[in-house]
């Protein structure tokens, strides 16, 4: 399967990532040892951005799979398709990554069903191989191949939990929303907006994060703050931009909406 175009998976420009602690060194160490990595953290706090950044830094192709409920093992591994001459095997993204030595990033792995996720097991221990039982082939992973999964523990659902046997194959890195000053810098830089507006947006974000567990499953993410900043850049009034980007998407609860809107009104005067 040498016809795979590796270049399409490469990241050519440095994705902006603001270092919070020692995560870059930690990740690099894990990669050097080719250990599978699990990144945890609330939505929109920069997990995927971090992985992109690392793929760029390590100069490895990155194959991202967004997992979902309907995904089956063959969506990851590959399947037979019909063509004029009979059946033809097509590699799935995981197999491609194992063959070309890419970083395979399974985003929101808990969304996939548990029986699907067990196919990654042989790739993530000392064997580093992927048996394609339907095809009768065993793919030995390229030496540069690494598996990364993201996992948002915020979904407080018993159903969406990783199996112990899956969990215990990864080293994990915790992510959280950046501290106020840093997050402010991120919003400023991502949306090219002035420091004062960025500061106010982050303050609104903080207000909403206080409501987590009181009717909000997740606080306002850094991503949404950047969206709001982008809207302000487009000339929308800050209060309207905040309503559009920070309030309406995250909740339909009238009380919470009122509280957030009041917060916006007291912060953007």
């Amino acid at each position: 399967m040498s016809e795979v175009d590796i270049e399409q998976y490469k990241i050519n420009h440095e994705p902006f990532y603001h270092v919070q602690e020692d995560e870059i060194n930690e990740y690099q160490a894990a990669y050097n040892a080719r250990l599978p990595v699990m990144v945890k953290g609330p939505t929109g706090c920069g997990k995927s951005r971090f992985i992109e950044h690392m793929a760029w830094k390590l100069d490895r192709p990155l194959i991202t799979v967004a997992c979902n409920e309907d995904m089956t093992a063959s969506d990851l591994v590959g399947r037979y398709l019909l063509d004029a001459n009979g059946t033809r095997w097509v590699d799935g993204p995981l197999t491609v990554a194992a063959r070309i030595g890419a970083i395979c990033y399974l985003d929101e792995i808990v969304e996939a069903r548990q029986d699907t996720t067990v196919v990654i097991h042989p790739l993530t221990d000392h064997r580093r191989e992927l048996p394609l039982d339907k095809k009768g082939e065993t793919v030995h992973a390229h030496k540069d191949f690494q598996l990364v999964i993201s996992y948002n523990p915020g979904y407080q659902s018993l159903m969406k939990e990783l199996k112990q046997s899956t969990k215990q194959r990864f080293v994990a890195m915790d992510f959280d929303y950046a501290p106020t000053k840093v997050e402010q810098g991120i919003v400023e830089r991502e949306a090219t907006i002035d420091a004062d507006t960025a500061k106010k947006l982050v303050q609104i974000g903080k207000v909403a994060r206080n409501l987590k567990g009181h009717g909000l499953d997740e606080g306002i993410s850094t991503r949404l703050l950047v969206y709001a900043a982008s809207l302000i850049n487009q000339g929308i009034k800050p209060t309207s931009a905040c309503r559009m980007a920070l309030v309406r998407p995250i909740t339909d609860d009238a009380d919470i909406r009122q509280t957030l809107e009041h917060a916006i009104d007291t912060i953007f005067v």
Binding site: D70, T72, S74, D75, R79, Y80, L81, L82, G86, T87, D115, L158, Q203, V207, A208, N210, L211, H214, G215, D255, I256, Q258, T259, L260, H262, A263, D265, T266, I267, F268, V269
Partner: protein, 759 residues
């Protein structure tokens, strides 16, 4: 003739008024004393025709034979009233009074006249006054009793009391609210004079609750969650919020406060005169207290004189607000709009202490740079405050120093006066600052906010009652907190009884077992022969390919997919344990209770085999004050001996108040995590209770309860053992019911019914 003879005694009356006095056909001497003032007022305010109506109206009222009092009231109140709402009101009132005098309610006429002035001021238009009179006359008509059914002979018990409360009522509710409140009272207490009086004097609890519901403004009760969220989100403060009543004592100054127990705030806020919404007034108040909680520290009260203390409180208020606006600039606008604006020259009386006025000015000047005050000391201290705040957060001690020197500098002789100038000095959103002070020595100075309680409360064994509303279909409103429901664990006896029941029905359970095995969830199922699917079904694909190559039409359904096939149902079985289930139906050997017990045991066994979460509860009622809800099996309990022992003990008594029990069961079900939620209600008769005369009321309430559950995605299904159930059961459960005529077959039918419902 006598009339004119009387007239001659009033010598002072000028000539032009004598003719008018003759038009007023009423000879009480007392009238002569006030006639001149009244008629001048009337001439000043009313047209010629108006004055004529006024005098003939007064004459009419004089003729009713209720003494001089109503006439005097009429003469006094009408000119102003007519001036306010139009002259048409004159004849309206006089005719109205005449009507009332034809009923046994004559005693209510003076209090009625007394309410008119207030009504005109509050309502302010002729339409509303008409409405007001209609409401009153309607109330009078409906509550006036008769002994033999022909002539009304008993006066309305509530009317005079209602009229006495009227000024307060009008200040609290709109005319629609008043109507609803009165309606409620008449409907519920028409046949009970004492309670009617309690209701209309605002003594009974539900009278106050109803009034509270009709109040205008922003109610705390409606916004409790909103306000807690506000505290939580903007201030990361979690504190219990408790309302205090603003009702009744209008004269007593109530201030919000907080202490160890929680934050106290008013139960209702109208929008302010300056256009600040009620909810924002609440927020302003909470923000102020939250700021105190964040930045204030306690200081020792004994070291300061009372004047020093109020100055410290004032400046500390300013300090925490200053810090809060740094974080949330929008609060500044809000607070400023609610802050009084004292006029510099306002407090010039020499006999009153202006201390509060001076401090209010200082506080306002700190808040608003455009204050325009000229007092040098004031300006200096405003500057000192701002200088201090530029240095950082500062502290309570630091502002205390400024406060003390301000008091020292501005002290006046009059400050010692007994009266204190209060006007325009009260900042409504500020609390009473009791949290600021520590009293070291017990003296007479510290304020005893609450008397120490020595009483020890006895620990009660059971849970406190839960209150549920009840739907009143007559008015299409809920009666708030109407039913008290006590829940508890059902007592138990011998579990073996249930085992022997199951053994008795072993043939049936074997048959059920076969059905159960078919129903058992199989989590992952392969669906073959699909055009679209997740995987290629190789066998079919090859067959199609062969067909294709050999020239015949290939079957395109060569994929397969997987689907989940699982049951996720939570079930609650609610059993009616009213007294009637003790009866033995015709042709049976067992009572309904015994048969139900067998049926429930079988059902519980079957559901346990299936693994669906099941809870079982029983209920009965003895008036609205005592609805019992007894748990037989919880969702997390397995089908074990404890549960069986409780089932074995099941006993019946009292009545069937279904609505509250359904609501309570729904409350538990809605907390279950399941795709489908099912409430099964096993009953033998229609909802009824001994304190309800209206047959339809509880049926409608049960219907309402069922539709409430429907909104929560809980499916209700009734299994009725009443052969006559068809008459009412569909009014409650629409089509979701099953009537079991042959009660003996219940043990067989119940599990089957459940299975067919959930298949």
């Amino acid at each position: 003739m006598r009339l004119i003879a009387d007239m001659t005694t009033t010598k002072e009356l000028p000539d032009e008024l004598i003719t008018l006095r003759t038009q007023l056909k009423c000879s009480f001497e007392q009238i002569d004393d006030v006639f001149e003032d009244c008629i001048r007022d009337a001439q000043h305010r009313l047209s010629k025709q108006g004055v004529k109506d006024y005098l003939s109206g007064a004459s009419l009222i004089c003729m009713i034979g209720r003494g001089v009092e109503p006439v005097l009231q009429f003469l006094e109140v009408i000119p102003e009233m007519a001036d306010r709402v139009g002259e048409e009101v004159i004849s309206l009132i006089s005719q109205g009074v005449w009507e009332v005098s034809r009923t046994p309610n004559g005693v209510s006429i003076p209090p009625f006249m007394a309410t008119l002035g207030e009504a005109a001021r509050r309502l302010g238009s002729l339409e509303l006054i008409k409405q007001y009179l209609d409401i009153l006359f309607d109330m009078m008509e409906r509550t006036t009793g008769s002994i033999h059914g022909h002539h009304t002979t008993l006066p309305s018990p509530g009317l005079p009391h209602l009229l006495a409360q009227m000024p307060y009522l009008l200040s609290q509710v709109s005319i629609e609210g008043l109507q609803n409140w009165i309606d409620y009272g008449i409907r519920n207490y028409n046949d009970h004079p004492e309670r009617q009086i309690d209701y209309f004097t605002l003594k009974s609890a539900d009278s106050r609750a109803m009034l509270q519901r009709e109040r205008h403004g922003t109610l705390f009760a409606d916004n409790e969650r909103n306000l807690s969220l506000y505290l939580q989100a903007l201030w990361q403060d979690k504190e219990y919020l408790a309302p205090y009543s603003t009702a009744k004592d209008e004269n007593r100054l109530q201030q919000p406060y907080y202490d160890k127990v929680g934050i106290r705030i008013p139960d209702v806020f109208d929008d302010s005169d300056t256009g600040i919404k009620g909810i924002d007034r609440y927020r302003a108040m909470l923000a102020h207290m939250a700021a105190h909680r964040r930045w204030s520290t306690k200081i020792i009260a004994d070291n300061y004189s009372p004047f020093q203390r109020i100055a410290i409180e004032c400046l500390e208020d300013s300090r925490v607000e200053y810090l809060a606006t740094l974080e949330y600039p929008g609060l500044h606008k809000l607070w400023l709009a609610l802050h009084p604006i004292p006029d510099e020259e306002e407090c010039t009386k020499t006999d009153a202490s202006c201390i509060r006025h001076r401090l209010a000015m200082l506080s306002y000047a700190i808040k608003n740079p455009q204050h325009g005050y000229k007092n040098k000391d004031l300006l200096e201290f405003v500057q000192r405050f701002h200088d201090l705040m530029l240095t950082g957060e500062s502290s309570t001690q630091e502002v205390a120093k400024i406060a003390i020197s301000y008091i020292a500098r501005t002290r006046r002789q009059e400050d010692q006066a007994a009266t204190i100038y209060f006007e325009n000095t009260e900042v409504e959103y500020r609390d009473d600052n009791r949290h600021l002070w520590v009293f070291i020595e017990e003296g007479d100075e510290e304020e005893q906010f609450e008397a120490p309680e020595d009483k020890e409360f006895e620990e009660v064994d059971s849970l406190p009652p839960r209150h549920y509303p009840e739907w009143d279909y007559n008015t299409k409103t809920y009666r708030p907190d109407w039913v008290s429901l006590y829940e508890g664990l059902h007592p138990s006896s011998n579990a073996n009884d249930i085992d022997s029941i199951l053994a008795k029905h072993s043939a049936l359970s074997k048959r059920l077992m076969q059905v159960l095995d078919l129903l058992k969830p199989q989590n992952f199922v392969r669906v073959r022969y699909q055009e679209e699917g997740s995987e290629l079904d190789l066998d079919v694909a090859i067959r199609s390919l062969i067909d294709f190559k050999s020239g015949s039409t290939p079957d395109p359904r060569i994929n397969m997919r997987h689907k989940h096939d699982s049951r996720d149902i939570a079930v609650t079985l609610l059993i009616d344990l009213s007294a009637s289930v003790n009866e033995v139906p015709e042709g049976c050997e067992q009572s309904i209770l015994d048969i139900s017990r067998e049926a429930v045991s079988l059902l519980a066994w079957a559901i346990d085999r299936l693994g669906d979460p099941l809870s079982i509860a029983a209920f009965f009622s003895n008036t609205r004050h005592d609805v019992r809800y007894l748990h037989l099996k919880g969702f997390s309990e397995r089908w074990n001996d404890e549960v069986k022992a409780r089932l074995a003990k099941m006993e019946a008594g009292f009545s069937t108040r279904m609505g509250a029990a359904i609501r309570h069961a729904g409350h538990f079900l809605s907390n279950q995590k399941a795709d489908k939620k099912l409430l099964l209600i096993l009953t033998d008769g229609e909802p009824a209770d001994i304190d309800v005369n209206d047959d339809k009321l509880l049926i409608k309430d049960a219907y309402k309860a069922v539709s409430e559950l429907d909104q929560k995605n809980i499916y209700s299904h009734c299994i009725s053992l009443d052969p006559k159930a068809d008459e009412y059961v569909s009014d409650i459960f629409a089509n979701n019911y099953t009537v079991i005529d042959n009660i003996e077959r219940l043990p067989e039918r119940l599990p089957q019914l459940f299975l067919s419902l959930t298949k």
